[in-house]
Symmetry: C2
Subunit: 120 residues, 2 copies
């Protein structure tokens, strides 16, 4: 299949549901995902996987046990494996994530917020 | 060390040289890098590594042997391992890349354009 570019805005226009990451690309052992978030997620960590969050629109706070990290558009953070975190967004955020293909969104926790990502 | 966010604009303000990728974050086996590009790079490929390009400012054309892919702000592409490519930018582009820590910018070619990336 021919190599195709991805236009982020177009991908975000394809869905409205929140907290359901969508895969937009793969490279090496990782997936590139996008998601819309609003509200509070659950505390969780990933045993073996670092996770990168890049905010494309809005403001996202990632609560850690010892600090809050607030990301605006054009800001990113890597949450290292093992570090408990909880994303919180007062208003809807558009987010890009990069993480290993094995990463579950709720990490060590599996509950009704657990979502298997689909390609979009 | 405390986890710290990265503000892309601030990082881009720290350097002006072109074609010298800077590392801004690491996750798992990958580095997140930024670069400023203008002009033509060399044809090259990466034997074992897929490489992601996300344009943050400007317009970047990635020439492949069978097509040109033109990326504007908010567009990305993954160049799979083994695929020859040549980035070209008429005006300065601000770029984010994600690639394995082992990736050399010139891939299979080593010449005066080869640059070992430094943290910024």
């Amino acid at each position: 299949m021919a190599i195709q570019k991805v236009t982020l805005d177009k991908k975000f226009n394809l869905f409205s549901e929140q907290w359901k990451p969508k895969i937009i690309a793969e490279l090496n052992d990782s997936h590139v995902k996008i998601a819309k978030l609003k509200g509070e997620f659950v505390w969780h960590h990933h045993e073996k996987e670092d996770e990168m969050f890049l905010v494309l629109k809005g403001t996202l706070t990632i609560k850690l046990r010892d600090q809050d990290i607030t990301l605006k558009q054009g800001e990113l953070v890597v949450i290292p494996k093992g570090v408990e975190h909880k994303p919180v967004a007062d208003d809807e955020v558009q987010l890009m994530m990069i993480e290993p293909k094995t990463t579950l969104n709720t990490g060590n926790v599996q509950n009704e917020r657990t979502a298997l990502p689909e390609w979009i």
